[in-house]
């Protein structure tokens, strides 16, 4: 059977006829890689903690979805990208922008709705973009970014370049119809798209077992002959290994691939979510046993790649960047009233 022969394997699910795509072992990071990952993840963590604080103070309004706990996913994948690769995600997007080297000031000022924000204050937390950094949003409609990200891959193939579109969505979005419409086209046309399913176990307040008939999201591309693997999304080395495999797969013209990143968000869905759908113990267990930043920190310490002072210096450097961004975001003026009428049409 053709379908059986092309069955995409998940971890430990090889049926012997599948392309050799099993979850790769976590990479051995060099000192530089571990330090870079540590610094970036810490920046994301501190940045978002500050964002949460500013929300509580009323500087940030509307919706604000924090990524805290999931930092290894976007950090590890970014380490596999080359110049020109695009990234697109939904509304839990702050860390993605920091990963794409967008300015913390510009992101934070957008969160506070100021003129120095990436969208001049007109987009907010969920709608930020950077053409310069190949970040294509920042989208508020669950699942819409999947078709758009497929279009980014289409553009790469149309232009004949070697770039890939890294298209993120959650376990919730994975049940949207347009995701499968996109899978079909991406596979049919062999588009270079890495579909990153960030499975943080809860679609807003609904656990995957209550929302999804198939909870192994790496298998969601099976009907479209898209291979997929499950990855420990709390271990940045495992993510980087999967990212290397996926980018190579796409750049070699094999079409799309699915990476199910098994991860966890510590905070609620958005700022107003008390997270009553899970126990405090569950959250605490993830924090104490699987925290992505603590894992790297422990390695840096045990390998003596960083002293206490080195780590403190990194922490201070990161806190300074975040404090500067927060100051800017609180003092930068609101957009001029005339901005109401700009950027509607080119």
């Amino acid at each position: 059977m053709a379908t059986a022969a092309r069955k995409a394997p998940a971890k430990s699910k090889s049926d012997g006829k599948s392309p050799n795509l099993t979850t790769p072992k976590p990479l051995d990071f060099t000192k530089e890689q571990d330090l870079a990952a540590y610094r970036l993840m810490l920046l994301m963590r501190r940045f978002e903690e500050k964002a949460g604080q500013l929300y509580g103070m009323g500087f940030i309004g509307g919706f604000c979805h924090l990524y805290i706990g999931q930092e290894a996913v976007v950090t590890g994948l970014k380490m596999s990208l080359i110049e020109g690769d695009q990234m697109i995600t939904a509304y839990r997007d702050h860390a993605h922008m920091l990963a794409m080297d967008m300015s913390p000031r510009g992101v934070m000022a957008e969160l506070t709705g100021r003129r120095g924000g990436y969208s001049k204050g007109k987009g907010g937390s969920m709608h930020m973009f950077s053409k310069e950094k190949n970040f294509y949003g920042g989208h508020g409609i669950v699942g819409a970014q999947v078709s758009l990200g497929t279009g980014l891959g289409f553009a790469n193939r149309y232009r004949g370049n070697k770039n890939v579109s890294v298209t993120y969505f959650g376990d919730g979005a994975a049940n949207q119809g347009q995701v499968y419409e996109s899978f079909n086209m991406a596979s049919l046309w062999k588009l270079p798209v890495i579909y990153v399913i960030e499975n943080n176990r809860y679609a807003m307040g609904t656990s995957v077992t209550r929302s999804s008939a198939e909870t192994d999201f790496s298998q969601r591309g099976l009907s479209f002959r898209i291979p997929g693997i499950q990855v420990d999304g709390m271990d940045v080395r495992a993510v980087k290994a999967a990212g290397d495999l996926a980018t190579e797969w796409c750049r070699s013209g094999n079409g799309p691939i699915i990476l199910e990143m098994q991860t966890y968000r510590y905070r609620g869905h958005s700022m107003s979510d008390p997270a009553k759908y899970r126990t405090k113990e569950e959250v605490q267990k993830m924090r104490s046993e699987h925290d992505p930043i603590e894992q790297v920190k422990a390695r840096l310490t045990s390998k003596k790649w960083a002293s206490e002072d080195d780590l403190k210096n990194i922490d201070k450097e990161v806190r300074d960047i975040v404090a500067d961004a927060a100051d800017f975001a609180q003092t930068d003026p609101e957009p001029d009233a005339s901005e109401l009428w700009t950027d509607i049409l080119v």
Binding site: Q86, I88, G117, Y118, S119, K120, G121, K122, G123, H127, M128, F129, S130, K131, Y136, G137, G138, H139, G140, I141, A144, V146, S147, L148, G149, T150, G151, L152, G153, F154, A155, Y158, R159, S165, G177, Q178, E181, S182, N184, M185, L188, W189, T342, D343, I344, L345, V346
Partner: protein, 465 residues
Amino acid sequence: MPIEILMPALSPTMEEGNLSKWLKNEGDKIAPGDVIAEIETDKATMEVEAVDEGTLGKILIAAGSEGVKVNTPIAVLLQEGESTGDIGKSAAPAKAAAPAAEAPTAEEPAPAPNAAAAPVAAAPKAEVAADPDIPAGTEMVSTTVREALRDAMAEEMRRDADVFVMGEEVAEYQGAYKITQGLLQEFGPQRVVDTPITEHGFAGVGVGAAMTGLKPIVEFMTFNFAMQAIDQIINSAAKTLYMSGGQMGAPIVFRGPNGAAARVAAQHSQDYAAWYSHIPGLKVIQPYSAADAKGLLKAAIRDPNPVIFLENEILYGHSFDVPKLDDFVLPIGKARIHKAGKDVTIVSWGIGMTYAVKAEAELAKMGIDAEIIDLRTIRPMDLDTIIASVKKTNRLVTVEEGFPQSSVGDFIANQVSRQAFDYLDAPVITIAGKDVPMPYAANLEKLALPNVAEVIEAVKAVTYR
């Protein structure tokens, strides 16, 4: 009695077709189900199967004939015991539904090949005001709206390698309504992309590609199916420029037939002009003539914004004069005074213009000199031209096929009452489709759509005749 084989209607809007090829010769035995001929419709080349058994007695319409009207006898079938000598003895039409009276006999000369009239004649010619964008003395070529749209896309694709077309059946099938005919052959599958039937998905793929700077033309087989994709059109295409503070938008055209076709009922007959005209960040174009279709589609493809381009299946076969210019591009957002007049302003667009133009001819006989404005672009709307006209005529009637509540006409009436209230000598009348889902029955469909008499009555009302 010999049986007449009639030219069949093979699509909802087909009024005539070309008899491409006979697959049976005179004297051949024919069984029901045998393919006897190939007929080219406005959409495709179709095989015609025999319904009755017999011998092909005489071919009345030669292969290669163009513009053969539906229900014209194309051949005579002899039944058992009959001979060619029986032809002419008041042949019976093969189809019960076909008009039985005065069927021409075989002795009458068959129309000569290629002698048929041009496709459906455009509406009666009123005195058409010259479009200021066409230089005087430009040669005009009679062109169907269908050809004009195809030419516009082909010209822009030759001009800019970033332009591509995607949609259902646009490539190998040559377009469900033949609008993309020949594009695959000229530009190849990389730029003429057949999609699966997944409007939501491929609209999003198009917008994503556009965000990188490519210029997709996304064809919806009809705009009815674009409702599946409306989130991507509005939330992604129309709003991204604003949400990104001007950093990136979507230079994309969504085009396809819109509004009622013929007898395709509620789910396939809806005019979306008012829907899309509601959305900031979109441009909305709804052309009537072939020249406007061409000049405005070229403009839409070049426009850096998302453009909704609403065509009409019934207008596809209508012919109009199109200026023969190397690069005929019209301005978006500019209405055209189709016919100047002094007594009343009639504003319409798209297929609504067919009612306006026919009504104008009747009104002229009553001594009412109507000015017709073809709006062409719904958004941004050329209110200046409307207001200037109303200040001259002091009366306004709008005509559209969409539903009446929150119609485009309602918006125009509101703007006119705000900006030219003192100039109005009568309340504005907005003519729209009826406030019902489109029925299937032929008589009910006619009742649901606007008609010429309604336009005449409205004009008489606002002119107090």
